[in-house]
């Protein structure tokens, strides 16, 4: 099939950027969305036009590197699917496809569709861990953990750190991302010890980075390729409240 792409091109962080129109020709329905872009890029190279820069690595929906807004939706139209896992059979002959980068105050555009998400790493460095050094830890089975808690922790831990939640939010809030990490640890005995300190440190850093507040639009949950539930935001809010009641603990 043949498609028309409208793609955000921006030479670097200082450039204003603009949409460019490209034809995607002879696209097979078996291709993934990124393979379609590969084909377009090969075409551009042939014409002497610099290929479109976009982030990607695993192409299996797990590394969190790919980050495209397709037709206004982070990761495109399919539910629970990263853009690298979206296949072209979901499009039809003649479709017009708009491709843009994540847009958020905290995610500056680096080039074309590539943005800087290092703010998420800094939130993690502020508190997204259990403070144990290597060695000297108890046996893995010394503390039984109920299956329910372990499963809840895993549900939260499935976050791939892609930032689609931020890109989809009117306030560009990173609440879902932070809540996922806070909830994972708060569900486990190993993480409970310093739960108070963690939630405060991570939320403080989130504010420093310029992410907005959560006003309950729930767009994040709808955009999240890993279906991280907004119930974790409620859980984080409880953790935060607890930490202000008993801030000294942990």
């Amino acid at each position: 099939m043949n498609l028309t792409l409208y793609v955000w091109r921006q030479k670097n962080a200082d450039d204003k950027g603009r949409m460019e129109t490209y034809a995607a020709k002879n696209i097979s329905t078996h291709m993934s969305f990124l393979e379609m872009l590969d084909v377009v890029n090969e075409d551009l190279i042939e014409q002497g036009i610099e290929p479109i820069a976009f982030d990607h690595d695993c192409r299996e929906g797990i590394c969190g590197m790919c980050s495209l807004v397709v037709n206004g939706r982070p990761h495109g139209p399919e539910k629970a699917t990263t853009i690298c896992q979206l296949h072209m059979r979901h499009f039809k002959e003649g479709d017009k496809i708009y491709i843009e980068p994540w847009r958020a105050k905290a995610f500056a555009v680096v080039k074309d569709l590539v943005v800087d998400r290092s703010a998420l790493d800094r939130i993690m460095a502020a508190g997204g861990f259990v403070s144990v050094n290597t060695g000297g830890v108890p046996d893995g089975n010394s503390i039984p953990i109920s299956k329910v808690d372990a499963d809840t922790a895993m549900d939260a831990a499935a976050c791939i750190g892609c930032g689609a939640c931020v890109a989809s939010c009117k306030n560009a809030s990173a609440m879902l991302f932070v809540a996922a990490k806070v909830s994972q640890f708060a569900s486990l005995p190993q993480g409970k010890v310093e739960a108070s300190r963690r939630v405060r440190a991570m939320i403080d850093q989130m504010d420093v980075e310029g992410f907005g507040n959560c006003t309950n639009f729930q767009e994040c949950e709808a955009a999240c390729p890993k279906e991280i539930s907004i119930k974790f935001i409620a859980k984080m809010n409880r953790e935060y409240l607890k930490s202000s009641v008993a801030p000294s603990k942990g």
Binding site: V39, P51, F129, S131, G140, K147, A157, A158
Partner: protein, 637 residues
């Protein structure tokens, strides 16, 4: 050059304890006087960087992704082995050691493999303490499964995302140190060269992928944890950016490359659909527990699977290996699939694929049970292929997956260049000629959390600081070379994209140095590679500039190195006139078509020394000594 493995003397189970005791220690107050560069933030790199920083060393860590959390380790699905014997089913450190040595077809180093099994139990404890949400049973204890044909249940897992969860554990430990200011993290930064002065490693030259700036970093030791080179085949289950550059650059600076021809081909991947294919997706091996593999008996049978009657189907694994059937090891299953496709009995549009059929299992167990066991895998398959595996059999085909070969290291994980250590998939050390499922994650974390902290301390204590800064002319020279090379790529302005060369190389490697190899084919590959490389340097087209994000330029550097490295792989495969593990030389097989080892001649590690581009490298041999296990023939009949 005499290769000294530095394996400690004494009984196998005592070696590591003894070695740790005999290692020199660095006084706590002096630790901050020693620095380490860690290249890579996968399981091996992140665990090493975090642990060394905890100990008090000055650490800087590099990765080319935008965050350390995105290293390729994130993609591992199945699980991680640990000899905990929590299931009381007869597992032990010794059994894990033995299975790993045997699985590697007796081409691994006993002492390293034993140590790996020994520290495997600590890894599980460490990960639990970090908050890794491993699967648990209703009693709240850790759950295990049997993986890749193992006879005991020793694999720990976190749904189908074990690699992700382990990496996030290591990444959180690393993040903690970054937050404390003890690790300086450089993301989107690619190592382009290693700097060696007076025979000792002094640092690296890197390119900032955003600004294009090329700069130097000096340290008392450099640790490469840069992953495997499976993308030499272009198509593989690896992430797109996985590459050989860091290891290859070290090789060019004098580190020996060991067993490059040991590359693992995974039997259950989704087949190639078209020329545009950019990567291959692994379908978990666990599917073979219930799926039956078959092709039509007749050559060129174009009927749909459902229209082929039972009597006209060939369940070739069940036929050839009645006792293991569909669970035959990775190398054997992969080769058998190739065989039937070569005979013209493959299935699907391209005829390069075989069926993995769940019809019987669904009849026997009900669709619900199958959904419970494999629901997410079936969804993934359908998402990619558009076919419903509940009603139409899956199509699978082998793909490049893991590389057992890597830089040669001794028992301390130190390469032949003093001060250069190699961890994780990037080294050759623990898996022999074939790796067992769930053992790569284990090795990455063993190296990073539990081995290098000891052996690096000993190195520092013995060798003192490097004393050479980035002002040294060797750094300036290496920087200039990197700049010149980049300018060269940008100025060629030819007609073909970087990817087109990578594809071309990949096809040659897959055809002649892939699942089955023979003398004529390998010689042909060695004739075909140089002209591709020459054309690359004359006709590649890299647009854009060097002083900004330029993904074509990044790829050009990586592909240029693959184009040289591929030849070493072929030389190694040619030299090894036997079949062992994943290395199958068609000339050396039994009458039934099984791999035939030659223990008299080839019980060695082949370590290759750089000798110039396009020139056959020099072979150095590390003879393997088996003091504890008896060399047996693998049989899965």
């Amino acid at each position: 050059m005499k290769l000294d493995s530095k394996v400690p003397s004494g009984p196998l189970p005592d070696k590591w304890t003894k070695h740790k005791f005999e290692s020199k220690l660095v006084n706590p107050a002096n630790k901050r006087k020693y620095s380490a560069i860690v290249v890579g933030s996968g399981l091996a790199g992140a665990s090493a960087a975090a642990t060394l920083a905890e100990l008090g060393y000055v650490v800087s860590c590099f990765c080319f992704q935008d965050s350390p959390r995105r290293a390729h380790s994130i993609a591992a699905q199945g699980g991680i082995n640990g000899a905990k014997n929590y299931q009381n089913d007869g597992d032990s450190v010794y059994r894990l050691f033995y299975d790993t040595i045997k699985g590697g077809d007796f081409r691994g180093r006993e002492a390293n493999t034993y140590r790996l099994a020994e520290v495997s139990v600590n890894i599980i404890d460490q990960c639990v303490a970090q908050g890794v949400p491993f699967a648990r049973d209703y009693g709240g204890l850790l759950d295990n499964r049997s993986f890749g044909g193992a006879q005991v249940s020793r694999t720990f897992y976190a749904r189908g995302q074990t690699g992700q969860q382990l990496l996030l554990g290591a990444y959180s430990a690393l993040s903690r140190q970054i937050g404390l200011g003890t690790v300086e993290m450089h993301t989107r930064t690619e190592m382009l060269d290693l700097v060696v002065v007076d025979g000792r490693t002094r640092g690296i030259v890197v390119r900032d992928l955003i600004t294009g700036k090329i700069s130097s970093h000096a340290a008392d030791a450099v640790l490469l944890a840069t992953g495997g080179y499976g993308n030499v085949f272009y198509l593989s289950t690896n992430a797109k950016a996985c590459n050989v550059t860091a290891a290859y650059r070290a090789y060019k600076k004098g580190a020996l490359f060991a067993n490059p021809c040991y590359t693992q081909i995974h039997p259950t991947c989704i087949p190639v659909a078209g020329d545009y294919q950019s990567k291959l997706t692994l379908m978990s091996e666990s599917l073979r527990n219930d799926g039956r593999i078959w092709v039509p008996k007749k050559v060129g049978d174009n009927r749909a699977a459902a229209d082929i009657p039972e009597a006209e189907r060939d369940y070739y694994l069940e036929r050839k290996y009645p006792s293991f059937g569909n669970l035959a090891p990775r190398d054997i299953s992969s080769r058998s699939a190739k065989e039937v496709c070569d005979e013209g009995r493959g299935v699907g549009e391209t005829k390069v694929g075989v069926y993995l059929d769940f019809a019987d299992a669904i009849n026997r167990l009900g669709k619900n049970v199958i959904t419970e066991r494999y629901g997410n895998l079936f969804d993934m398959y359908e998402r990619i292929t558009g076919e419903d595996p509940y009603t139409v059999p899956m199509r699978i085909y082998p793909a490049s997956h893991y590389t057992m070969g890597g830089l040669w290291v001794d028992y301390n994980l130190e390469s032949t260049i003093p001060g250069l250590f190699v961890l994780g998939e990037a080294n050759f050390s623990d898996h022999g000629a074939n790796r067992l499922g769930a053992s790569a994650l284990m090795q990455g974390l063993a190296d990073g959390y539990f081995v290098i902290p000891y052996t690096l301390g000993d190195f520092y204590a013995r060798s003192k600081q490097s004393g050479i800064t980035t002002d040294h002319e060797a750094f300036k020279k290496a920087e200039q070379e990197a700049i010149d090379r980049q300018e060269k790529f940008l100025s060629i302005n030819g007609k073909r994209s970087v990817d087109s060369f990578h594809r071309e190389l990949g096809k040659v490697m897959w055809d002649y140095c892939g699942m089955g190899r023979n003398e004529a084919g390998l010689k042909k590959a060695l004739e075909m590679i140089p002209p591709i490389r020459e054309e690359f340097w004359q006709n590649v087209k890299v647009l854009g500039n060097g002083d900004e994000l330029n993904q074509s330029l990044e790829k050009a550097g990586r592909v240029a190195d693959f184009l040289e490295f591929a030849e070493i792989m072929c030389h190694d495969a040619l030299d090894r006139e036997e079949s062992c593990g994943a290395h199958f030389r068609e000339e050396y097989q039994t009458e039934e078509g099984e791999a035939k080892r030659n223990d008299k001649k080839y019980t060695y590690v082949a370590a290759w020394e750089y000798n110039g581009v396009g020139v056959k490298p020099n072979l150095h041999k590390e003879e393997l000594e088996f003091e504890n296990v008896e060399l047996a023939t693998r049989s899965y009949k």
